[in-house]
Symmetry: C2
């Protein structure tokens, strides 16, 4: 099944919703205007449609495999990665000083969506490398940055994040991997890390592992964790590769999905100790890792959108082709392609509305990230930073949860054929299930949303967003179209429900944390429903104007129809979600653990 | 992961909700009282827990395989099937005249749940055989019944349903398999059938295929389809097996789940024609097949409950064992099993509430089936038949849709371990996905609910159910517990929403079918939410009484807590579902097919 990058919708989101023109006015992004965006997206589409996407099914059927400590990736991956690297795609959002392109996240987000639509398993390698680059940019010494970053940007080397251990998953305080200081200033690392994505592979010359470990005598818990660089091959002063370091892949996992992405168990120090280099200061490792993780969380959210888009395209193609039964409205005399049946349309519209809503949300968040980093005015930076931080758990949590529903509908549209692996729809269903788990489960995202993003500032950021939504409502109220009226009704009810839930969270988080956290994931889902819907409401306003001006009629009509569907079928869920959170907290924990 | 049959909850549903004592007063079921039920369930639990359940993982890792037309099932399946047959389980609900046990469906439903919890793939063989027996009981000649039914009940032979062809899935009018009459009164069958569950296997001596085909010159469409018996081996007059018939398995499918269940492509008549025997009258095949299919649809609904129960048990076990992070309420000084975290509890309660609600709904429906068949009063039979028929699409559609959510949560509770196939949680997620598809997709169930079950009688049956729910509301209103008040609030709102949707469906089905069928699946989900919740409301009333009487305190407290959770978190969705159906119909089909 082929993939066609939704370049037009991506550009619409950037230009009309995320304010690409404003982004291009930020210092450093002067080149990042509409023309650049279009050129980059078209080039990116070419690579991903032509080279990366065709390897997706192949990766599922012929996954990475482990033998004697070596991992061989799916045939074609190595060559595709070479093309990816040569095209400069790894450096898209990284500083030009290190060989990157220095483009804003507003544009980068769309490129990340494309590579993930093309091939989730393949895209994970660059995704993790991005995170490693980010961490070194933040906390590495100039020498470390010079040694590692240019070679990661060029694709000669790749990066990994080593957090999880068998006893330490969501709870990183339990990390046991230890680091022994050496007289030369380096460390020796000992321990076992699991679930290490691309922890071993054959697509690059070297792998730069970033590893959480405890220095001997460090405090217990998260305050005693440091971050280390542990290269697979030692790097000589001239930058050439030296001896093999003492980190070895002892196995890879047999997984439900993303089978081509090797998930490694790494053993550090079985032969005397793996050489590691401290990044930043001792005991501040978690802080640095969170920088990396926040970038990765946003990117995983994009993965949700990406797999949803791919599943949607495949379902549409099948629904247009598969002929079965007469339309119920008698509009066709004979049997029709199933896209003519209302329930198939409902499924496709649901898939489409979720995907477009989340894309609009993610790209808008990306623009806030860019402003938070590059805007000359400190106050503007601060506001954008707060908005972006509020959005990260939503982009990650909501877009991935919705991808489960969308990929499930994708199978359903195919009927019995969807259950046959050959068809390919089932792969998306299997692949997507990791997205709500890795880089922090949905519950971890929701805890972040409730605690750090809502309760900590007394709901201020959340209420500011509600205020912006009210402004959109006011604009809708000035329209008299059926679509605008439908959107206004649902958006207003949803925004009011959101504010009630925010008040509930602020009120309960300290005094009655069980009540707040019983509703944390429902709150995340409610907020995601609302904010993705809000972006589609903004899209609807733009589309009505463009339509009136006779611009790109078909696209604008489709955008309006999709926004209205979202309002009536997805935003309509919000008041019920509010009731469950605000009135249903007690029943979540009423049954005692030993009564299960 | 072991399985423990929820015998206690099953007996509670039978006795307190489905009126087992009344069932045991029906002619023919005099032995089917509480004691029998308990004894049967305990015996059934023993076989399924001890013999069938341990083969579930094995079946996934070592699926059925095809070689040279033969299918070899998973090691252990053949022996387990022998034990199943020898225990008399295939005949549980079938007439004693043919060697069955003649037990009511009220008891049988629980046994079917157990075998499916133990092993969905294994259970499909008896499930299809049940359907074949049902069809022959309805439409077979006495001779056909004598030839085939006793041997199917004894487990010597098994049965299949042959409906689907590559071009004829949901749309059976497109069936092309043809039947040529022979001078001896038999037919020769020619064609290809796909997706035939246990269409070929090594667990029994013979396979009785029931096949839809067109007799030469029959009318087009569904009115020209006849039903035939096509045995794998010819049966001699003395009942012994003769020559191999001309039906051959040319391949089996590579599927997302239920891998141990062979899904066959069957080729009829490649070597001169498969010998077939007409069942009933020519051109009435679909009618007979629907009898079989209705039994199978109900059973597939039970499969949804069964896989949900198994996923729930596995998630609870993991949540009690996996230690990670401190409880947010400070209730434990150190790290706790994750069941102490509110969001894990929310997930487990959701899984539990759906499963118990659907079980209560299904067993109550089974009791209506029994009364519809065995009650001496024709009017009572008629009412119960109408109720049962209304329930079939809900038991099938709603219980299977909820199983997707429950098995997904089951993976989620396991975090990263859930994505590793070794853990076993992912198997339930994969296995369950077929349930919303086979024996009629959820959309097909929903069409049935809207058309035949709601619009045809002008909403009469639906409103009668709403009336019964009102009676439950009145009983709740006489209680002053927090749980009863919470349930009353949500049940009343949900019932009112249901009635509005019923009126909408009755009003639109003819004049504006697109609007009705755009909301058909949401209506099915709404009705399922409501009716499963209603049964838990009834359970809550019983449990409060029993609790007051000091009976089985822990069980009754848990039932009340589960019912209240259901009300506050699942019933609370219903008004939003109503809005989407009643106000959102137009936006489902607003985007034209070629605009996708």
């Amino acid at each position: 099944m082929s993939y066609q990058a939704p370049v037009k919708d991506m550009l619409f989101c950037m230009k009309e919703l995320a304010g690409l023109a404003d982004v291009a006015r930020l210092p450093g992004f002067e080149e990042a205007g509409e023309e650049t965006a279009q050129a980059v997206l078209e080039e990116c589409a070419k690579l991903n449609e032509g080279v990366v996407a065709p390897l997706n099914v192949e990766g599922d059927r012929n996954p990475s495999f482990w033998k004697d400590g070596q991992v061989t990736t799916t045939p074609g991956f190595k060559e595709a990665f070479r093309q990816f690297a040569e095209g400069g795609w790894q450096g898209l959002q990284h500083p030009t000083d290190f060989g990157g392109q220095g483009l804003p996240k507003t544009i980068g987000a769309a490129c990340i969506e494309m590579i993930n639509s093309a091939n989730l398993s393949f895209a994970l390698c660059p995704l993790l490398t991005d995170g490693a680059i980010e961490a070194l940019l933040t906390a590495g010494t100039p020498e470390q940055q010079q040694t590692y970053i240019p070679r990661m940007i060029s694709g000669e080397w790749t990066g990994t994040m080593n957090l999880t251990e068998p006893q330490a998953g969501s709870d990183l305080a339990l990390v046991r991997t230890r680091a022994e200081p050496q007289p030369d200033g380096s460390y020796r690392i000992f321990g076992t890390k699991i679930f290490i994505t691309y922890g071993e592979h054959d697509m690059a010359e070297n792998i730069v592992h970033l590893v959480l470990a405890r220095v001997n005598g460090a405090p217990e818990g998260v305050k005693g964790i440091s971050l280390f660089i542990v290269p697979k091959f030692m790097v000589k002063p001239d930058g050439s590769l030296g001896d093999r370091n003492d980190v070895h892949c002892v196995s890879i996992e047999h997984k439900l999905g993303i089978k081509a992405s090797p998930t490694a168990v790494l053993q550090f120090g079985d032969h005397g100790g793996a050489v590691g280099y401290l990044v930043g200061q001792e005991n501040r490792g978690l802080e640095y890792m969170f920088i990396m993780m926040n970038a990765a969380r946003y990117a995983v959210g994009i993965q949700g959108i990406a797999v949803a888009e791919r599943a949607y395209q495949q379902a549409v193609a099948y629904a247009k082709e598969r002929i079965q039964s007469r339309p119920v409205d008698g509009s066709m005399p004979g049997r029709a392609p199933i896209i003519h049946h209302p329930d198939v349309r409902r499924m496709l519209m649901t898939m489409r509305a979720y995907t477009e809503g989340c894309r609009a949300m993610a790209i808008t968040a990306a623009a806030a990230y860019d402003a938070a980093h590059a805007h000359p005015d400190a106050e503007v930076r601060k506001q954008n930073q707060a908005f972006y931080e509020f959005m990260v758990p939503l982009v990650k949590g909501y877009s991935t949860e919705m991808s489960l529903e969308v990929t499930s509908l994708g199978v359903q549209v195919h009927g019995g054929m969807g259950f046959i692996e050959e068809t390919g729809a089932a792969q998306h269903y299997r692949d997507s299930k990791i997205l709500t788990i890795y880089e922090g489960t949905t519950a971890i995202q929701a805890n972040d949303l409730v605690g750090r993003k809502t309760a900590r500032d007394g709901g201020q950021t959340a209420k500011a967003i509600a205020g912006q939504i009210e402004a959109t409502e006011a604009a809708l109220a000035r329209r008299d179209s059926v679509a605008a009226r439908a959107m206004l009704k649902r958006l207003k009810a949803a925004r009011e429900a959101f504010v009630q839930v925010v008040d509930f969270m602020v009120g309960q988080a300290k005094g009655n944390p069980n009540a707040a956290f019983a509703g944390s994931v429902p709150y995340l889902m409610l907020a995601g429903n609302l904010i993705a819907g809000w972006q589609l409401a903004r899209a609807l306003l733009v589309a009505e104007d463009k339509l009136a001006a006779g611009e790109d009629t078909a696209f604008m009509q489709a955008k309006i129809a999709t926004a209205r569907f979202y309002a009536e079928h997805i935003l309509a869920k919000v008041p019920g979600q509010r009731d469950a959170i605000v009135e249903g907290a007690d029943s979540v924990t009423a049954l005692a653990p030993d009564a299960f």
